[in-house]
Amino acid sequence: MSLLEMTLDAPRLLEMQPLLRVNNLCKNYGGIRALENVSLHVYPGEVLGIVGESGSGKSTVLRLLNLEEPETSGTYQLEIPELLGQNLFELNRFQKRETRVHHIGIVYQNPHLGLRMHKSSSGNVAERLILAGEKRFAELRRAARESLQASEFPIARMDEPPIHLSGGMQQRVQLAKAIAMKPKLLLLDEPTTGLDVSVQALVLDTLKRLQFELEMTMILVSHDLGVIRTLADRVMVMRGGRVVESGLTDQVLEDPQHAYTQQLVHAKL
């Protein structure tokens, strides 16, 4: 039975609806097709990992889901009361910003993309709350502190700008900012790449705990199969802008079906 012939039954035991539904997402950059008919469903509280080589379109998926860039075609829905039935790609830019602020958090591999490096760390976190309409200084400060604490950031340094902090701490500021509004969806683009292993373990552990405590749905892009194995419930493998295989994490990593996935798993140290 080839992978393409193989169609598993639709969920039957689960009564819940997916939090996120993306259908036939395509993205062109000029004449280059970056994404080709990518579809994914993610259930509440689930962690979906995306793996694939550089240039396979992993980060592009995250940028589109964060409503940062326009899609070429496709639909994107979130199962959130005020957004039911709405294709988020069709929102105007103010509505997109609202959606981003209230419901979606993102952590980039490069902290420079997610933080204002010369502003205080607490200010970076509070910015989200200000955008959401919070004006009381004491409340902003309390919420920023709470969020930084949840991300295991050393509170004594909360007023220092990220530029003065280590890479691991910058990632924790990004994480605190991403979770400040307790979003339903958290997007993580290589959150531990470039960190040393002990800091990586700390970030992974924090993510795992937050996911459980806040019941967040996460989409995690990483080329580190160990990270994927630790965090993800399901995995999607991408190559050349297409999804070549998807399934339960252990199944994809232990019994990969597609030639590319086998190559990827065999290349692991």
Binding site: M1, M6, L8, D9, A10, P11, R12, L13, L14, Y43, E46, Q200, A201, L202, L204, D205, K208, F212, T230, D233, R234, S246, G247, L248, D250, Q251, L253, E254, D255, Q257, H258, A259, Q262, Q263, V265, H266
Partner: protein
């Protein structure tokens, strides 16, 4: 009936050698509640592979594995990933040969985790976890330590305590006695006896089936393609 295998088969298609490697084929068997079925056969015939196919860590190639869940009958070979993930959280347990420690998570936390994920309070979960670790004979001074530096036997005690802390409808036991001392083997046997009495259906591969004497209700003999051993072994290596 809890589990019914019908012409259950598995091949691995390995792209870089360009061919299909059969693991096992045409397996038929029925498992009732409260029964333990031993999977027997020579090395490399696919005993562990069979368990992994039922658990869906491996994707079965053909046939069915009908599972009577609390929500109705479902074919594990074709059930959606979401349903399998749900069943693994609630109804189907897999006891692996090795523990997979997580960075910065203590032995006690690792064992208690399945309970607090089910919604049990933290103190109560930790209390149960202590009982389980005590049952399997892990020294109390190690309970708060991180298991990545434990010996093979100690890790396996943590593994068993975690996997068996709560009853499931179906338990898949993949050589759970490997690297265990006598006391822990006896503790495992007692625990499995209790689970059986609670109606848990079990199917297992045991390196020394005599350890489980008196518990085994049926034997499923797999005759395989011994010729393909080296390739299968290589594949197992890659999987870890």
């Amino acid at each position: 009936m809890i589990l019914k295998l019908e012409s259950f088969s598995k091949n691995f298609f390995i792209h870089h050698i360009g061919r299909d490697v059969p693991a096992f084929g045409g397996i038929n068997a029925t498992l009732e509640a409260g029964k333990l079925m031993l999977v027997a056969g020579a090395n490399g015939v696919g005993k562990s592979t069979l368990l992994r196919c039922i658990h869906r860590s491996y994707l079965p190639s053909a046939g069915s594995a009908w599972f009577e869940s609390t929500q109705g009958l479902i074919d594990l070979a074709r059930a959606s990933d979401e349903d399998i993930a749900w069943l693994r959280r609630r109804e189907i347990g897999y006891v692996a040969q090795f523990l997979r420690p997580r960075p910065r998570v203590s032995a006690l936390e690792l064992v208690a985790e399945p309970l607090f994920h089910l919604g049990m309070s933290r103190p109560r979960s930790l209390e149960r976890a202590e009982e389980m670790l005590d049952t399997f004979g892990l020294k109390p001074e190690l309970w708060q330590a991180y298991p990545s530096t434990f010996s093979g036997g100690e890790q396996q005690k943590v593994n068993l305590a975690r996997a068996l802390i709560r009853p499931r409808r179906l338990l898949l036991l993949d050589e759970p006695t490997a690297s265990l001392d006598t006391q822990a083997r006896a503790a495992l046997k007692t625990r499995l006896e209790h689970l059986k009495a609670d109606g848990v259906a079990m199917i297992g591969v045991f390196h020394h089936p005599e350890d489980m004497e008196g518990l085994i209700d049926a034997t499923l003999e797999i005759r395989g393609t011994e010729l393909l051993d080296p390739i299968l072994e290589e594949l197992e290596y890659v999987a870890y």
